[in-house]
């Protein structure tokens, strides 16, 4: 049985124009690379992840969501000095999960968005750490406190950010 916890009206599939689909992730990558130089605290945010989640839950298509996450993650990897694929794997999973969840949950209000981002940020970090430690052999520590705080900050940023990004959505 297909269980959905949303009303019929809430399950709306959106799409993005081609320029928006290209430039929003690129802008997120650019800001993520540029802003921490000037605003050091910005390092705690993960704008590409937020864009991945937003696009995935808006499109409500797991295949599209995971591909979006994969591309954004690989691009983010290419800005680091680490092997390409760590962020790619993590964001692929997040993209798939967010779009799958978007079909079943109401993700249009601020509360659900906050919880969604909070949860997926933790998932993202756990996958990242597993891959980085298990495959790449990086010596990364589990900092649960820091991770929870970062998840909270990202979720708090996601609420207004998603409101802005809502303007780029088009009914599918």
């Amino acid at each position: 049985m297909n269980v959905s916890y949303t009303s019929r009206e809430q399950i709306e599939v959106y799409r993005f124009s081609l320029p928006a689909a290209i430039f929003i992730p690129l802008l997120a990558l650019f800001l993520q690379a540029f802003l921490p130089l000037r605003l050091h605290f910005f390092e705690i945010f993960d704008l590409p992840l937020l864009v991945t989640i937003f696009m995935a839950v808006s499109r409500r298509n797991p295949a599209t969501g995971l591909l979006t996450g994969s591309i954004i993650g690989l691009l983010q990897d290419s800005l680091t000095h680490q092997p390409i694929g760590i962020y790619g794997i993590a964001k692929t999973v997040v993209g798939y999960g967010a779009s799958s969840l978007g079909v079943k949950l109401d993700v249009e209000n601020s509360g659900s968005r906050f919880l969604l981002v909070f949860g997926f940020y933790l998932v993202h970090q756990v996958i990242y750490l597993i891959v980085a430690r298990g495959m790449v052999g990086q010596d990364l520590a589990w900092r649960w406190g820091h991770m929870a705080f970062a998840a909270f900050c990202n979720a708090a940023l996601a609420v207004p950010l998603f409101m802005v990004l809502d303007h780029f959505k088009q009914r599918g």
Partner: protein, 467 residues
Amino acid sequence: MENLLTRHRNVTILVVVLFAEVVGLAVQVKRTSDTDSSRLLRVWTVTAVSPLEKAFVAAQQSVRNTWHSYFYLRGVRAQNQKLQEEIEQLRLQQVRLAEDAGQARRLQRLLGFKEQFIARTLAAQVIGSSGSDMSRVVYIDKGAGDGVEQDMPVITADGVVGKILRVFPTSSQVLLINDPSSGVGAILEKSRLQGVIKGTANGELLLEKMMSDERVEAGDQLLTSGGDQIFPKGLPIGVVKKVSPGKDVFLNVQVKPAAELSRLEEVLVITQVVQRQPSAKEAQASMRAVDILASRLPSIPDNPRLPSTGVPLPVGATPPAAKPAGSKTAPGAKPGVTGTTAQAGSTPKPRVKSGQTAEAQLTGGAVKTSAPKPKAANSAANTAAGVTSTSAGVPPTVTKTPRAAKPTAGAATGASNPADQKQPGTAKAEDGSGSATAAPNASAPPKPPTGMAQNPPPATPPAEPQP
């Protein structure tokens, strides 16, 4: 089977994509050398992002420059004055350090040591970062087209920043020293203990390989040891922040980086490091204290004339026109102070040949008056003779004349350094109207002795023979 894949299309795509990513990652990890397989994607991404970053940085710089240059000028005058004073202090300090460095070079040359010199640097602007606290790299706006190569050291005026990790056509990736994958050979400045500086996941610096019985204290300076073959020796890395017992027999030494790694804006890429023996000429080269002191002191006119009131010049002061024939004063040589000659009020004799003026060096904060270096004189005579060697407050009653440097041959006059002229006999000259027969420094601008009276020099140590 086909029906199964169709029914679980999304899961299948997920598995395929993840599998591809895992395989790609495994291939990169397997390779020990640089991951050339991923270079294309990196170049694409950096090429797409860096123009935006450059444009933003340029815009930010121009706005900041406009603001600071034209609008926000509050306190600039006071700051300028403060900086000028600081420059004077630093220049004096530089003389002392140059003397030390000269001595070190002489010793190195004697021992046949080779020294690394930073021959060329390239200034670069930091335009971006990785955007992740898992990867501490920054991007600079200089790339292969500017001569940047892999593994070149990157520094700031404060200290070491990192090294070039990847080079792109118009930008480069710099691995910061606080990344866990970086390592810098370090040496403690005082104890000369060597270790390795490593970054942590938190972005901190740790000094590794320090045994627990070693004496490491908070506040100790850390310099590059040169052992990593990347960073030249002697660059500041940071200061020991905290020392605590670590694993096994090692200490856990936390280091505060000298460079502000989280607020980098402009950096220097060391593009050329030369390893050579210091030459004898270089070893002997040192700045003269009179050059420094002369620029600090208030000047008097080059050609002092009789005042319109008809007041005669002070005793011992000789107008330039009254210089005896044969007195060769170098261009720029100016009225200084007559030393013992001035006291006697006698006509000064030309003892200084152009370019062979008395040389004063500041060593360890003391003004050392050394001899001129006549061409015919041997080195021992150079250092010991021909100088009015005085101590502060002691009248320069003894004038040593070099044997090889006869007055006619261009030996120095008694007044070699205005710093040595503070004495009762020269009180009249301190009014700034006195002229000099001998230029303390042929290349220095005209300076009166006034300032010297205000700034009495420290005791003069004996001149050291030059090797």
